[in-house]
């Protein structure tokens, strides 16, 4: 277990380092002078030089990188020029809404996806299975923002059940303001959960211990719901962790549709205003979240399933 743990953590660190390198170059690849773009053209040369010094852009590349890495690792994300406050503070204010949206979307995809997968796997290739398949193909093909608009049109504007814009915290506020956005975000993922879980259930159902359970006369629902599902939990966890990045990308658009003040809408603002430091930090954060999510999922899996941690031997 320990050697697996160390190997897995080292791998995650290598990838995190890769992310640092990639995001570091964002500001250097900007055509023209990023400082002049940030300051908006009518800044005095002295001002430009001062900002350049503040950003460390007057140093050699390697020492800039070192500065960047040490700042990021310590959580000193710098100051946003366009919003005139510390990047860390801005992100702190916006993190809650995005985290709630992602968590809620994930929860919905599991709550919808797991029962549908069981129903589909119970009678493969029958009409229920086929309609579920059609449904998942449809939700996967829908642009999340378009689905969001349609949900807003139907449940917000026509029926008036839920608000179509804004965000408020607390459980009640989240349920009220984030249900439509989370549905729009989670439905595409639901399709993936259903498909992967269905095929893994079907695979498990071929094994001997399932046959043994059946021959003991257990009901089919119990065989699938208890014995087979337990072996498929890990797959679901893996799907979810692998798709954290997809959800993060989705929030960028969904937050725009429902005007939620989260990190996604912050990223779009940052790009529009050419606030490179903000873009850099947000990209790094998003990437790190994906790496950490997959690390966490792997470690949970290794704890629960001895086959995983012993596989490398």
């Amino acid at each position: 277990m320990l050697s697996y743990l160390i190997r897995r953590v080292v791998l995650a660190l290598v990838v995190l380092f890769g992310l640092l390198v990639a995001t570091f170059f964002i500001i250097h690849l900007v055509p023209g002078d990023p400082v002049e773009i940030v300051l908006g053209g009518h800044a005095s040369p002295a001002q430009v030089a001062r900002v350049r010094h503040e950003l460390g852009l007057d140093r050699p590349l390697l020492s800039q990188f070192w500065l960047y890495v040490s700042r990021m690792v310590q959580g000193h994300f710098g100051t946003s020029f366009t919003l005139d406050s510390p990047v860390g503070q801005i992100i702190g204010q916006r993190l809650g809404a995005s985290a709630a949206l992602i968590g809620y979307g994930m929860l919905l995809s599991v709550l919808l996806g797991v029962p549908l997968a069981i129903v589909a796997a119970l009678r493969p290739n029958r009409w229920m299975d086929k309609s579920i398949r059609v449904g998942t193909t449809l939700t996967f093909a829908m642009p999340a923002f378009w689905l969001g608009l349609m949900l807003a049109l139907i449940f917000g504007l026509e029926l008036g059940w839920l608000p179509v814009a804004g965000y408020s915290g607390g459980v009640g506020g989240i349920l009220r303001t984030l249900t439509l956005p989370a549905l729009a975000l989670g439905l595409a993922l639901t399709g993936v959960v259903v498909r992967t879980l269905r095929s893994s259930l079907l695979e498990v159902l071929q094994t001997e211990y399932i046959e043994a359970a059946r021959s003991r006369g257990l009901s089919e629902l119990r065989v699938v719901g208890k014995h087979a599902l337990r072996n498929s939990v890990m797959n679901t966890l893996t799907i979810l962790s692998v798709n954290v990045g997809f959800l993060i990308g989705g929030t960028v658009v969904i937050e725009q549709v429902f005007q939620i003040p989260g990190l996604g809408s912050l990223l779009v603002e940052a790009v529009e205003k050419r606030d490179y430091q903000l873009v850099q930090t947000l990209a790094l954060l998003a990437g790190s979240a994906v790496v950490l999510a997959s690390l966490a999922a792997d470690l949970v899996q290794a704890t629960l399933d001895p086959r995983v941690r012993l596989a490398g031997r």
Binding site: L11, V14, V15, G18, L19, A22, I26, L29, V30, P31, R133, T137, L138, F140, A141, M142, P143, A144, F145, W146, L149, M150, A152, L153, L157, E158, A188, L189, V192, R195, T196, N235, T238, I239, V242, N243, V244, G245, F246, I248, G249, G250, V252, V253, Q256, L267, V268, A270, V271, E272, Y276, V279, Q280, L282, A283, A286, G287, V290, V291, S294
Partner: protein
């Protein structure tokens, strides 16, 4: 990556060496759903290619006498606030979007399969380095990376053309690499060594054709992901700039009049869904064919 990962890291290596007799009559042996899917895609691609010929109006032809008119025989998808024909705009948008989708899907496929084949064939240090690079690329949320590229090069199609391939090759490379690890132990690959073929010939002539199959299946899904990405960026105002119509920007234009003129945002969205369904059916159909081949 941040596009949906259907194969997942846990997917079982695919049994590759398929019998050659199935080569003949691919079309006849295609399951019905794959045929329907292929037909949908062909129609949509043709609609895009022929947009200038078949579009009843110009994409920016204004007609202030007919603003916000509902779908009818004259205007299949209705008109928008400037009296522009939404159907014609959708056709032109398809032309632009599908062209970009092809350009960002297939070149990375070729690069990815080659890189994955090399990594899987040689193993060792080369493989370890390539595998870590693949991991890093995939760890980046796709959308965020492309937006970061757009932050650098400015809004427009250019950001997509640069940003998507940076990540997309890695997905194919991962797929090809994991298959190559299985493939290189198979007899026909061992035979290339016994026969004294060069490694280049072994990889390009004997391994890659086998690796292409699952990458091509995956590419049907990848096209959908890329089209959705393109539409999303256009929706955010980071895609093609006006006056060029893009599916996402037409939908964004319709957002403010969703209640009074629902068709502007709804109908172009349905076209995107149709593309996704077509690609999904095609992908499912041909991968089912593979499964059937394995069970025989």
């Amino acid at each position: 990556m941040s596009a949906i990962d259907v194969f997942g890291e846990s997917s079982a290596p695919v049994t590759v060496a398929l019998e050659t007799r199935r080569r003949q009559g691919v079309l006849r042996r295609m399951p019905l759903e794959a045929k329907i899917g292929a037909a949908i895609l062909i129609v949509l691609f043709l609609a895009g290619v022929l947009a200038p010929v078949i579009a009843p109006y110009g994409q920016n032809q204004l007609d202030f006498a007919n603003i916000f008119s509902a779908p009818s025989g004259n205007h299949l998808f209705g008109t928008d606030g400037a009296g522009r024909d939404v159907f014609s705009r959708t056709l032109y948008a398809l032309r632009l979007d599908l062209g970009v989708v092809l350009a960002v899907t297939y070149p990375p496929l070729i690069v990815g399969v080659l890189v994955g084949a090399v990594a899987g064939y040689f193993g060792g240090l080369i493989d370890a380095v390539i595998a870590r690079i693949i991991d890093t690329m995939i760890a980046f949320p796709f959308m965020v990376l492309v937006i970061a590229v757009i932050a650098i090069v400015g809004p427009g199609i250019k950001g997509v053309l640069i940003g998507v391939p940076i990540v997309a090759w890695a997905l194919y490379a991962r797929l090809a690499r994991s298959e190559m690890l299985v493939l290189r132990e198979q007899q026909f690959m061992l035979a290339t060594i016994a026969l004294g073929y060069t490694r280049r010939r072994a990889i390009l002539r004997h391994a890659v054709p086998n690796l292409l199959r699952s990458s091509l299946i995956y590419s049907t899904l990848d096209m959908v992901v890329n089209l959705l990405l393109l539409a999303s960026l256009a929706y955010l105002g980071l895609g093609a700039q006006p006056p060029n119509a893009e599916l996402g920007s037409i939908i964004a234009d319709g957002q403010s009049t969703l209640l009074s003129a629902w068709w502007i945002a709804t109908l172009p969205g349905l076209v995107v869904v149709l593309f996704g369904v077509g690609a999904g059916l095609l992908g499912d159909g041909i991968s089912d064919g593979r499964l059937r081949g394995r069970l025989q």
